[in-house]
Amino acid sequence: MGFSMRKIDYCQALNEALHQEMAKNPDIFVFGIGVPDHKSVFGSTRGLLETFGPDRCFDTPLCEDSMTGFALGAALGGMRPVHIHIRVDFLLLAMNQIVNMIASYNYSLGGKVKLPIVIRTIIGRGWGQGMHHSKSLQSYFAHIPGLKVVMPTTPRDAKGLLTAALRDNNPVIFIEHRWLYWAENDVPEGEFLIPLGQGNILREGTDLTIVATSWMNVEALRAADLLAKQGVYVEVVDPRTIAPLDEALILRSVEKTGHCLVADNDWVECGFSAEVAARVAEKCFGRLKSPVRRLGFAHTPCPTVRCLEDEFYPNAKRIVAVIHEMLGLPPIDLSGEFSYSHESRFKGPF
């Protein structure tokens, strides 16, 4: 099997996983609003219609909840549906089928059936996406027993985790960040799989652990660079799957560093960051040298105007500032440092 690497972007990595798995398994089909159109969900479903035909790649009317029920029925009938939504926010219309039906269906059947359903969905951000196109919602889904929740950060993870999701016999909510679509990285050419439930150390360090999700890993890595200039070495832990959670990896890191900051790409209140903080507090309380801290979206709906949007989202500089507090270091001037913005690729709409 080819493990030769070449650089491709996150979107190509997703696309490649779909092509490879669909070629192998005729039961897989993809569908959703706009899935086969010429924009092909930002390019992630490109070529699927041409290669696999309209029975395996199709558009739907706007009816998220019913088509989610459709996915459940198709899975009961032995198919492997992949339902795609261009924004996580639109999944809120499908919550009845996801939470009341899909998540508990197997339980009601005594765990006897395979429910290989993948729900791919995208987090929007920037240029005034506003309150209806910017949610993240991993905590919503991870709160519900019976769902697996995946948030790949790197192109390699995007391919490996999507492959794992497509082969899993249980429902998987697969949450992609729009800004990560342009990330480029070494990705194996052939089929390969990253098991769900296995986190990843994105950067090793000794002084403090940052547990970050999705785009926040990019900010965490940048914060790590800034801190390294001061001789502070942070470890960046990417859980990659929110449920099941690789708790052992997180705990091992915190045992080593004694400090933990959770940087979640979501609201903080009652969120995934609280879950991580609780587990760290429960299981390595004695090793903690400072209280666990959390960073996430401001507790407001996402505003449209740029200057408030910038306040709404945490960034590398905010991470550095919190870490200075945690480690009792004096603040430093970061005004000359850049902050990520995808303005150059993102002029105008979506």
């Binding site: 609003i33 706009g34 159109d37 010429h38 924009k39 558009d59 739907t60 009317p61 706007l62 009816c63 909840d65 019913s66 926010d89 639109f90 809120l92 219309l93 240029w127 005034g128 996406q129 506003g130 309150m131 209806h132 196109h133 401001a298 507790h299 407001t300 709906p301 505003p303 449209t304 105007v305 740029r306 200057c307 408030l308 306040e311 709404f312 303005e343 002029k347 105008g348 709409p349 979506f350």
Partner: protein, 322 residues
């Protein structure tokens, strides 16, 4: 204004020119908000809102501009909001997709398809209970009628005889997918007509016809006859979202576009004013200049305001007593 059609033309012209200014200034990157342009479809919002009048209550979609301008004519705050200025309708928090102006009877626009339709039911129920006599109008696209909440809402409105005007702005596409690829039926009007809900349809793109049709609908609603559904065909000139033409993407036939361009709602109404209502060219030109100046002033004024202070982020999540 003594000519009946002139006011309608003025509103069409206002909506069109505001968007043409947006197209012109958007590349300056100061209006950082995704825009779903109404251009081409203005006759629907203008005809309906004109008939409904200022006491009507409006709910709309992310394709918000024409309905907003037609109903509120609040050009200054429209631009302040799009420019994200502190004096905007929501201090820049709402942007193009969530425009609202309760002071002028505009109760919101939504980025989630079909999500304002059920809200119209409750707003109408409140009018009925409080005996205000106001009609609630909700605009939505042909994509919205795919959603379950549309069908649930029609049913409830018919059952409860609510004073709601449902306005389906049918531009034939949901993003890039044509209606015939999404609908397992041929005529929405026939189906809605099976509910206890009167229906009207129009494909003329003629603002006066739409206005007259709406007046008939309103007389049914105001006589307590329950909800009415208007199905109005129209054509979006630009891409689904953004300020560009997208005919190069070839998902919409050129012939259809040409046919609609021939009956552009501004052209139709301008010709009517001159040929049928005896309005002199100079009168129209003066009106156009007046609208032009007011838009220009609104833009200049909006840009003079500052962006909201960062502390604004936390304001308005909950009700704030002034």
């Amino acid at each position: 204004m003594s000519y009946p059609g002139l006011e309608l033309y003025k509103k069409l012209y206002l909506a069109r020119r505001c968007e043409e200014y947006i197209v012109k200034y958007y590349p300056q990157n100061d209006m950082k908000t995704p825009m779903h342009m109404s251009m081409g479809q203005e006759a629907v919002a203008v005809g309906v809102c004109h008939a409904v009048g200022s006491t009507g209550l409006v709910l709309a979609t992310y394709r918000s501009h024409a309905a907003f301008l037609a109903h509120t004519q609040n050009v200054p705050l429209f631009f302040s909001e799009l420019y994200g200025r502190v004096n905007g309708l929501a201090n820049g928090k709402s942007g193009s997709m969530h425009l609202a102006d309760p002071d002028h009877g505009h109760w919101g626009s939504s980025g989630i398809v079909a999500s304002t339709i059920p809200i119209a039911l409750g707003l109408a129920f409140a009018q009925k209970r409080k005996n205000t006599g106001a009609t609630t109008v909700v605009f939505f696209g042909d994509g919205a009628i795919d959603e379950g909440s549309f069908w649930e809402s029609i049913n409830v409105a018919a059952l409860m005889k609510l004073p709601v005007l449902f306005v389906c702005e049918d531009n034939g596409y949901a993003v890039h997918t044509p209606s015939k690829k999404r609908h397992g039926y041929d005529s929405i009007v026939d189906i809605v007509g099976q509910f206890r809900c009167a229906t009207f349809s129009d494909d003329s793109n003629d603002v006066e016809s739409i206005c007259n049709m709406t007046q008939q609908a309103l007389s049914i609603i105001q006589a307590g006859g329950g909800p009415v559904f208007l199905h109005i065909k129209c054509y979006r000139y630009l891409e689904h979202v953004g300020i560009n033409d997208d005919m190069k993407d070839a998902y919409r036939p050129v012939e259809i576009q040409e046919a609609w361009l021939k009956k552009d709602c501004l052209v139709l109404q301008r010709l009517r004013l001159i040929n049928e209502q005896g309005v002199e060219e100079i009168v129209i030109q003066q009106l156009e200049e007046q609208v032009e100046t007011s838009i220009h002033h609104s833009i200049v004024a909006a840009k003079q305001y500052s962006s909201p202070d960062p502390s604004q982020l936390f304001h308005g999540v909950f009700y704030e007593e002034n």
